[in-house]
Symmetry: C2
Subunit: 440 residues, 2 copies
């Protein structure tokens, strides 16, 4: 039998232990597919004595992950510790620098240092694989890196955060408020005690940065992403979206425009009949648009130990088979800095929900401000009777009335200016709610 | 610059010409990704003088595709002629036998001779790629061959024929009969003049045979597949399915059972909220179930020159990069003959629509026959008033009445025996309609 691929595993949390189990269970299949076994030989983790459902004594323990990374007894480092900084970064760099391939599930590390790591991997002619770093159980990294090769990609967008999609799905299906769904997600372990990284869109942004780089050949740059979370979304928005044939999803979107690559994370209205609109619960999905080709959508589990381990093991199998590709699908030296399309120049349709003061002239004022910015309206819905909407309790004479506007394609800049003017006119109460509409 | 990968292209129909265009348009991207250009140098097709939207004189013309296959000037053969027999088979075998890799879009060839071709490719240590042969624009072959590596796959199922899905979608959405939708599909070029290969399920079966082989490591064997088409599906079935929360799709399903691998193509009721149920029109979709992992679904264009060319070019790029994998994901010598699970042993829920004679004792007789086969019913709907169903025009006293039964999990054998008995009892009119329910 051929020599086994010997793995050093850094990180023994949910993902690390799932990798150990999956390599054991999948042993025969991996051997058949790769022509050689894949074996964990040494491990490293923060706390040695912690209770885990693996037999730790089967593996050599190495205290420092960076020492594990350069251990002569390992052929490949699997990094599933997480975090953009050390010890993860130092361990990954150490492995690559001594010519050992790396498999990592670390989205923060890739988003922050992806390009530098790719340069390092290529300099030492070793593989750097990270299928697990974006939409874990969905083979989107491989699809972007090795598939769709001749196609000019124009847009990639997806549901990349299971927590947010779970919350938005629960809100709609069970008619609950955001806060209630968030608490439920925390109870079920879908959301962290501090949920802001998920619900404010930052997790989605890290994953989008990686996918955009693969799709467009630009250096990973999370700083180029406009980010907005879902905490302002109300049931009234979901209801209005539903009536108009839309559903609200937190999407990460990267799109080629004349002004450069537009990268943005925000609540988005998508047509209900689009494949991505149907994705409910903690499931992830990514859609890829290419010139002249109907969209391709991949749907599957985005996170969790088992799904992430599945991606890690597939990456290991590629290394065992000797598959060599540049980390981001093309040589790092040929990747360009992102030419960032400013958010003000974003163009598309908008959903705007205002609480209009119920007095003469309000509608005319709003209409005038929109017209001044050359914004045309596809529809206007004004509701005096909103007991069911959950958004507010108006209806008494003089109390504010919800007005929902859907615009034809316009620019972010125009919408912002028009709404600023409307606010200055004091014809609305509170902040307007704005949700961008994504064509699909 | 590195040496280009020189392509011999056999077949200049819709797909062949689309490959030429895509290689030209994607030239820079392919060079960046593969480190070398990919160039068509010689072509072969049935008729030289035919009008095509490519400049034929840019390529050397070779009359016989088998001569092209072994031409010393080419590095790889692209076979997009189609057909399980010659000239496609001879050309592919000729190329492999002289150690030239092959990319083919030919599902009939792969379904019939896939295992022998894989053996030949491995013996000569060359790549045989066929992403375009099953669900063209969806990277399912690569996902099964190189992804999900450690996972024990339990089931793969999909919408693999755009014509059938278009017809079923139109029937439901526009309330049209099967024949009307078929004519519409023919007018739009989605269906052939002789539509039986598509609508009777044979096209789906060829693709399923290829996917099942990749998923389960068994030798391709279309003879192991139970095949049933959609021509018996009526609007009454779609309506009843809709009311029960299901949608009817023509699925190809391959599933591991205790009795072996069950492979079947038939109209199937799937829950409306499943990702695959949402796929409408000519789009294809494939879902993969693995042990302990949430399902992964890939959705995209299944056919058409552009989508097929995209898959062919991605296969070429892998060859240009030197990626080497066994054609079916594991060495051909390790693939086993399909242990075919007999259809009689299929287990699942069933939808049964009967036209019951409207006279005393009919219901009791049907119930007794089902009970004798230990079939339990989840629901029974009997409709005296069916003017809207389009299935029949009963309602007059004594005329047959549609009865719709949904069974709990039972066996194909039990259902067939119970229905045969019911027919012998002469309590129903015509043939019962049976649609299997797929859990998802």
């Amino acid at each position: 039998m051929a020599e086994p691929l010997k793995v050093g595993l850094a990180g023994l949390g949910t993902v690390g232990t799932a990798v150990v189990h999956l390599l054991e269970r999948g042993r025969d299949k991996l051997l058949a597919r790769c022509g050689r076994p894949i074996e964990v030989v040494a491990v490293s983790a923060r706390v040695r004595g912690k209770k885990r459902d693996i037999e730790l004594r089967k593996f050599r323990w190495v205290e420092d992950p960076s020492v594990l990374a350069t251990d002569p007894a390992i052929d490949v480092l699997v990094e599933v510790m997480g975090g953009a900084g050390d010890p993860a970064r130092r361990a990954v760099e150490a492995a690559l620098a001594v010519g050992k391939p790396v498999v990592t599930a670390n989205k923060a590390l890739l988003a922050r240092h992806g390009h530098k790591l790719a340069v390092l991997a290529e300099r030492h002619q070793v593989q750097l694989n990270f299928e697990a770093a974006a939409a874990g159980g969905i083979p989107i990294v491989k699809t972007l890196r090795e598939g769709l090769n001749g196609d000019a990609l124009t847009r990639i967008y997806g549901i990349l955060n299971g927590t947010c999609n779970y919350i938005l799905s629960r809100m709609e299906q069970d008619r609950l408020a955001f806060d209630d769904c968030l608490r439920e997600a925390q109870r079920l372990g879908y959301a962290e005690a501090d949920p802001s990284f998920d619900v404010e869109g930052h997790d989605t942004a890290q994953k989008l940065a990686i996918l955009a780089s693969l799709a467009f050949g630009t250096k990973v740059d999370p700083g180029a992403i406009y980010v907005e979370g879902i905490s302002s979304i109300t049931l009234a928005d979901l209801d209005a979206a539903g009536e108009l044939g839309y559903r609200v999803k937190l999407l990460g979107v990267a799109v080629k425009t004349e002004a450069g690559i537009e990268q943005r994370v925000h609540p988005t209205m998508v047509r209900k009949d689009a494949a991505i609109a149907q994705v409910m619960g903690a499931t992830n999905a990514v859609t890829v648009d290419a010139d002249g080709l109907a969209p391709v959508t991949l749907v599957g589990p985005g996170a969790g130990g088992r799904a992430t381990a599945s991606a890690v093991v597939s990456d290991l199998a590629d290394i065992a088979r000797g598959v060599r590709t540049p980390p981001f699908g093309r040589p790092a030296a040929r990747m360009t800095a992102v030419r960032k399309a400013p958010m003000q120049r974003h163009e598309g349709g908008y959903y705007i929900r205002l609480l209009a003061r119920d007095r003469p002239g309000t509608a005319a004022t709003i209409a005038r401000r929109l017209a001044q910015q050359k914004i045309s309206l596809e529809s206007i819905v004004q509701r005096h009777e909103t007991a069911a909407s959950g958004a507010s309790q108006p209806g008494r004479s003089g109390a504010p009335v919800p007005v929902i506007l859907i615009t034809y394609a316009t620019s972010e800049d125009a919408v912002r200016k028009a709404l600023a003017a409307v606010r200055r006119d004091r014809v609305i109460s509170g902040r307007p709610q704005v949700i961008r509409i994504e064509k699909n």
